[in-house]
């Protein structure tokens, strides 16, 4: 699943570490999410959406089964 996490994070000018601390996950999790290697749980997806004040669909792009 593709996402705009890296783009949005850079727009806000925050580091992976800072985002990880706010979301209570590790920095590696943020890295994996940005690379698209890991799909977050629905709870984490909503936490991320709430952090950026957006909808989940605006951050995570579902393009059907890969």
């Amino acid at each position: 699943m593709k996402n705009r996490l890296e783009e949005l994070r850079k727009q806000m000018g925050i580091k992976q570490e800072e985002l990880a601390e706010t979301l209570q996950v590790s920095r590696q999790t943020i890295g994996s999410l940005e690379n698209g290697r890991y799909n977050p749980s629905i709870i984490l997806a909503f936490k991320i959406a709430r952090y950026f004040k957006m909808n989940v669909e605006e951050i995570f792009i579902y393009e059907g089964e890969e």
């Binding site: 209570q24 996950v25 590790s26 999790t29 890991y38 749980s41 984490l44």
Partner: protein, 132 residues
């Protein structure tokens, strides 16, 4: 999995027990027995004790579990893979015991251990099936 900064009473007791087991095994191996035919079984027994105590320590004494969902997911996947492999290995082990004509008690214990693990798997499966 993080290890707590402060030592709790249980952790101290646990460490004392480990140190005692270690000292007694060192004394037993080097000062009393020297190298005997019992050395290898003793090493295997020590490994078994460490496996059991390590398992108990992880299950009951480490309270502060990792709360990073990716790490939890990785750990669960690794455990699932290990369980799949363990089923095969246990099966092979029992077959080897049978082919070696090991005594019935040894085979029965291995089978019982295998059945206990399968029973835990089935009860957990049904528990989570009801919960989710």
């Amino acid at each position: 999995m993080k290890i707590k900064n402060g030592l709790s009473l249980f952790n101290i007791i646990f460490l004392v027990v480990i140190v005692l087991i270690f000292i007694s095994s060192v004394v037993g191996m080097f000062f009393v027995g020297g190298y005997t035919s019992k050395t290898i079984p003793l090493i295997i027994a020590a490994m078994a004790v460490s496996a059991v105590t390590n398992g108990i320590h992880h299950k009951f004494f480490i309270k502060e579990k990792d709360n990073d969902e990716r790490n939890i997911s990785i750990e669960n996947k690794a455990k699932a893979k290990a369980f799949d492999v363990m089923q095969i290995i246990f099966g092979i082990l029992i077959i080897i015991y049978v082919l070696l004509r090991a005594n019935l008690l040894t085979i029965a214990l291995a089978v019982v251990a295998y059945l206990i693990i399968l029973a835990v798997y089935m009860t957990s499966f049904s528990k989570y099936h009801k919960e989710m």
